[in-house]
Each structure stands twice: as C-alpha cells, then as structure tokens.
C-alpha cells in the first residue's frame, strides 16, 4: 500500500514537471514529425516507394524520439538528490521505477501512437495496415521505454553517456524493430501479421519483467 502511494506521488510529480517544461516534453514528437515530413522530400514522393518504407520509417522515428528523452530520464533526479531519496528506508524501488518509465512512455510513446495515423497517411501506408501499425506501436513502444531505461540507468554516472547509451541500447532493440516492422509490412501485403505481433508481445513482456529489476539495481549502483 505504502509503495503504491509513493509511486503514484512520483507519477503525479513527473506529470506536473512534464507540463511545466512543455517545450522539452514535446521535442520528441516534433522530432518525429520532422523525420516523417523530411524523408519523402529526400527520397521523392513516389507512393509505392514510400509505402514500402513507411513501417520502418515510423518505427525508427519512434525509436529516435524515445532515445532523445532518455538522457533526462534519471539524470536530473541524480543531480538534485531526489533519486537517492527513492532508496531511503525502502527495500524495493520497483514500483517507482515502473512509475517513472510509465511517465516516460506517456511523453515519448503515446504521442507517437496518436500521431501515427497521420504519419501513415502522409507516407501512403495502405489503409488496411493502419490497425496493425497502431497495435505494433502499442505493444512495442513500452519495450522501448523499458530497454531505454535500462541503458539510461547503467550509464547514469558515466561521462559522455549519450554515445555509450546508444551503443548499449542498439542490440537490444534490433529484434523489436524487426518484429514490429515485419508485422506492419505483412499487413500491408494483406498477410496475417499475428505471428510477428505475438513475438513482439513476448519481447515486451520479457522486458517488462526483467528491465525494472535491472534498472533498480543499476540506479543503486550509481548512487555509491
């Protein structure tokens, strides 16, 4: 009960902070928008070409948007001392880690999902694949936050962490992108995408079970 209280208090504060720094919070979404608008200008507006590239582009843009906010996931809390307060008299910070990751997802993952129908239309993704795109984003973007959180917590007290962070997260998200874009491409070709979506869900469930434990341990290590 007490753990839940502290996690919901943290979530409320994170949301308050996100709205206070609205410009910073909207940056990932703006980034996504820029990528989706600029790439057709770069590769030419042919509908067939764009439609083939659409799943990959939307997913890579979602990934980069998520990466962009990772640097701020735990570092401000480390610097102002609120992170060490998580551990005072607590045996487990599991719920707080989950609360923090949930707010990260709300800021980076959810806007991408809300924006995805527009992006799909701009890239000429076949209409019947839109549902699969949204489902793949719904299942997959939480895993981006979870794995990103793991990389961010591991590199918390490292100098020049952004490079290391990107290198660490890269191999972890390769399967995610393969299954997700695979599902959308199959749906675009009017094939059954459920096998890919199932594997994607398994991947997310695996990271949901393991990543918060790793993050909690890595955070404590960084407080020494």
């Amino acid at each position: 009960m007490i753990g839940t209280g502290s996690a919901s208090a943290l979530f409320r504060r994170d949301m308050k902070l996100a709205f206070r720094r609205l410009g910073e919070s909207l940056l990932p979404l703006f980034f996504l928008f820029t990528v989706i608008v600029l790439i057709p200008l770069g590769v030419g507006p042919g509908p067939n070409l764009l439609a083939r590239m659409a799943p990959g582009m939307i997913w890579v843009a979602a990934l980069l948007a998520s990466l962009l906010a990772l640097e701020h996931l735990f570092r401000p809390d480390l610097e102002d001392g609120t992170l060490e307060q998580w551990f005072v008299g607590e045996r487990s910070v599991y719920r707080r880690v989950l609360a923090r990751l949930f707010s990260h997802w709300l800021i980076t993952g959810l806007p991408v999902i809300l924006f995805s129908p527009l992006a799909a239309e701009m890239l000429h993704l076949p209409r019947h694949a839109l549902g699969t795109l949204i489902i793949s984003l719904l299942i997959g973007t939480p895993a981006l936050s979870l794995l990103g959180g793991l990389a961010a917590s591991l590199t918390l007290s490292t100098r020049g962490a952004s490079v290391l962070l990107s290198i660490l997260i890269f191999p972890l998200i390769v399967p995610l992108v393969i299954f997700a874009t695979g599902a959308v491409s199959m749906a675009a070709d009017s094939l059954d995408p459920n096998a890919h979506l199932g594997l994607l869900a398994a991947f997310t469930i695996l990271s949901l079970t393991l990543a918060p434990i790793g993050i909690a341990a890595a955070l404590r290590m960084n407080l020494e």
Binding site: G5, L10, D80, G81, E84, G89
Partner: protein, 202 residues
C-alpha cells in the same frame, strides 16, 4: 526504551578500502546521536548507509521505524514551487503537518508559491528541512543540517530537533560546525577516527 534503528558491525568499502572500522549504532526513541570527525572520515557515508541508500559490505541494519534523510542535496525540484515540492513529500506519506504550517516552522511562510529554483542556498536548505515535517518519520538522518543557515536558522534546527525528540523521535546528525543545543542527557556521540586507510597502508 524502544530502538528505532539498529546497525550491527556496519562496514563499507570504497575502492576496496574500508571507510571506517566496523560500527555499531543503536538509536533509541527520544535520543540524538551526533557524528563528528574531520572531513573525509565517512560521516556522510555512514548516514547514507543508515538511510539504506548504500548497501553495507558487511553487517546488518534494521529499521524499526520510518526513516527520513536530509543530505547535501536539497532533494527538491527547481521547476516546482515550494508547496508542490512539499505536497509530493506529503503524498509519499504518511502525512504529517499541513504544508503552510511546515513552511512557517522553517521560516518560509509566504514563499509557498515561489519556484524552489528561485530560493537562496539557505532557503533551499530550509525547504529541505520542511520535508521532514510534512511526513511522519520517527528517524531523522541529517547531514550537516546547519550548513548555509544563518543564526536564526540554526536555532530553528535546534528547535525542530528538540520538538522531534520530545515527540519520541530519534535523530542522527553529522556536523563539524556546531553542536545541536539539545539536553546532554539525550545526546550520544560517535567520533569517527581519521586515517584508518592510511594507517593500514603504512
């Protein structure tokens, strides 16, 4: 008397060297423990161990009551107002004093709606102390609570500590500037010795 916090043969290593000799700490309700010793002997490390932020290399630590820790960092968000910062603490719970009352007790009355980024170092310190009042935490672990406070602020800290001890709480504080003005019968001292690392290397 009940023990709020018990540590037995607590040990911590930094870069493979012990920071201090294995320590026993027992905090009774209504008593204060003062940690003294020169810079770098591990006062902060010991407090962070007692808070549970650091995991000891060996030894046992038992919290029999809720713990609060005020360290060098104020642990407040600069983008939030003083009230919002305290409101967060109060929600973590269990709730103690009302926000306005807590702000008044640390001398920040009327500054509730100011962003805490705009506070001076001393005022931030006071806000950090106000965090102790909005939650009910019998054990207070204070790292240099008098740092960057003026005379009135230091007297205010003594008053907070005395009131907390009278309410059956316990305090462990590290200081090398000023001793808390607390009745001597309620006070225990732990003096950390300097240089045990160097001693072993010679």
């Amino acid at each position: 008397m009940s023990r709020l916090l018990e540590a037995h043969q607590l040990e911590f290593h930094r870069y493979g060297n012990p920071v201090f000799r294995p320590l026993d700490v027992a905090l009774q309700a209504g008593r204060a423990i003062v940690l003294t010793g020169p810079n770098g002997v591990g006062k902060t490390t010991l407090l962070r161990l007692l808070a549970g932020i650091l995991a000891p290399v060996s030894g046992t630590l038992q919290h029999n009551a809720r713990v609060a820790f005020v360290g060098h960092l104020p642990a407040v968000k600069g983008d939030l107002t003083c009230r919002e910062n305290l409101d967060y603490e109060r929600r973590v719970g269990p709730p103690g004093l009302e926000l306005a009352e807590a702000l008044a007790q640390v001398g920040l009355a009327g500054l509730g709606s100011r962003p805490s980024r705009a506070l001076s170092a001393g005022q931030k310190r006071r806000l950090g102390l106000a965090r102790l009042l909005v939650r009910k935490t019998p054990v207070w672990l204070l790292d240099e609570p008098y740092a960057s406070l003026d005379d009135a602020g230091c007297a205010g800290v003594d008053q907070l500590i005395n009131r907390h001890l009278a309410d059956g709480g316990g305090v462990v504080l590290a200081t090398h500037q000023r001793h808390p003005r607390v009745d001597a019968s309620q006070l225990d001292n732990i003096v950390l010795q300097a240089g045990i690392v160097e001693d072993e290397q010679q």
